[in-house]
Symmetry: C2
Subunit: 324 residues, 2 copies
């Protein structure tokens, strides 16, 4: 298994190791998965081609990294102002999303599976305070996927870089700002040593799905029980990663704020409003690529309309109630 993460990077890299371990144990050793960090066998952003080409059997990343291959793949990671982790899982497993993801990856000879989720991410680290839309103009920020396009339309310069290159890029001034994941991961990378302002809520990645993809020919050689073990191990890993982030983020945030004097800030309403409008614009445009992209967009949008209505009187109403 080749991955886009530094070997054993908290949450993401360890999530890939956890997945491998479940497959190894459940298969009683009939499958042995070995995990390679970014750059060990192939660079982070070449794992998709490596697995499609058969030089590795499995990959671990996130679908928006491959938007250059096919833009609509971004729906299988996250969309700005889109679905949360709970909704993504619901769409994938009970709303037809998984079948569409399979269809989209079949073109590349790959079988996809959701195998992790970060939950709502933080809006990111900034050298300077963001007080108005003006502060986004000319901003060089690492922000992948659709959200990068949103930043561009708001006047900024989005950059896509693998995690392992973010600290030095921020340090050297190649970028002025970066989002990554959330407190647990961000503390590990040490962004607070350079950028002082840490923003929420994460409008741009409200529930990012991580993926495992498998070389289709290799997958089809497996008997039914091992296929089921591999796909179910991905589901376990999917749930486990989200559980880990929820468990670790608050302690890490307290360390950042109390020990490292990071300034925790909420994005201004004006900025949120504009980013929201631009997000809808770029998401809708994705549908126009071809018939499959339209099908993915329609499925995502129709599901989201319903899940949002339900969460408004369940999850959201309850979280507001208990906050008093």
């Amino acid at each position: 298994m080749v991955t886009t993460w530094p070997k054993n990077f908290p949450g993401l890299g360890t999530g890939a190791e956890f997945l491998a371990e479940q497959i190894n144990v459940m298969s009683g050793g009939r499958i042995h998965v070995e995990v390679y960090g970014a750059g060990e066998l192939v660079p982070a952003f070449e794992i998709f081609d490596a697995v499609a080409g058969g030089s590795a059997q499995m990959g671990h990343g996130s679908a928006y990294y491959w938007k250059g291959k096919y833009p609509a793949l971004q729906f299988f990671s996250t969309t700005p102002f889109g679905m949360t982790a709970m909704e993504m899982n619901s769409w994938l497993y009970h709303g037809g999303g998984m079948q569409l993801w399979q269809k989209a990856y079949e073109q590349f000879g790959l079988v996809p599976a959701a195998s992790g989720n970060t939950g709502v991410q933080m809006a990111g680290w900034f050298n300077k305070e963001v007080n108005s839309l003006e502060d986004l103009k000319g901003l060089k920020m690492r922000i992948p996927g659709l959200a990068g396009e949103v930043l561009k339309r708001a006047g900024g310069t989005p950059v896509n870089l693998p995690g392992g290159e973010l600290f030095t890029s921020l340090q050297s001034g190649t970028i002025d700002a970066t989002e990554w994941v959330g407190p647990y991961n961000d503390l590990a990378f040490g962004f607070h040593k350079i950028a002082r302002y840490y923003y929420y809520p994460g409008w741009h990645e409200p529930g990012t799905t991580l993926e495992c993809f498998i070389n289709k020919a290799a997958f089809e050689e497996l008997p039914e029980d091992l296929q089921s073990i591999v796909l179910n191990a991905c589901r376990v890993a999917n749930q486990d990663m989200l559980a880990e982030y929820i468990a670790r983020n608050n302690d890490a945030l307290e360390t950042l704020v109390n020990e490292h004097n990071v300034k925790l800030r909420e994005l201004p309403a004006e900025v949120i409003d504009t980013l929201g409008k631009l997000s809808e614009e770029v998401t809708v445009e994705l549908a126009s690529v071809d018939a499959l992209a339209r099908e993915i967009f329609d499925s995502y949008s129709n599901f989201f309309k319903k899940s949002r209505a339900w969460l408004n009187i369940s999850e959201r109403a309850y979280l507001n109630l208990r906050a008093g």
Copy 2:
């Protein structure tokens, strides 16, 4: 596997079937799980003893049904004003909760596993509108677990009944109100034919964990790969049920409101405030039973304090942001 649900009841009964199917397929037929509905082998509320005694190998229910055996078991289902589904999974898998659940069930010769979650439940069905605390006085309501004790202290009469008996109890006037799960399940039981008012948010069960428990001696006879298959199948089923509820609830709610003319209502602030205070009271009292109960309470409370703080700037902030 004996269950507390009617055979193939949507979400809960089908969730037990889904779990059995994953075990059967992943084990390549080395394990064959057969699911029995409530009353088929033993009545709903006798499954705990049946599996502890070895007359069945697995059970599927929820831990608060066994509060008569040991009150602190309720923490492994849900607590009023407590953790959501996401937080329960996080506490269980990454916060020490699972180890405590194992310790608590070991006394009965059982191995527990989380194997489903309903998400935030609806506050329930009422014959009459709830406009003030006065309307809870003398109210006979089916409401299990700690929330039942809360209702009692608010002047009502809580009743614990298995799902299959709720419709006739409501019809005959044995109860004036009932909570069950949410629109998808409640529509299936037809409560709207009798009670007209449907309330949210579900203060009393914010993320109810369903369980699978296994006879410990039977579990220990399994080799490591099959033990891992059984426990991981429970984790897959845990995630899958929540995904299904999120996918189905909104359509069912629209049917209830638009086709059956059900009145959807929000509980008044005065009622919520009082129920909140009473909920804290009854939850704290559970800790005083013995040292293990104290340990469970402390673990749950300490974890919850942190997860709540984190969700306030992630999940909650985002859900409010996107609602505009």
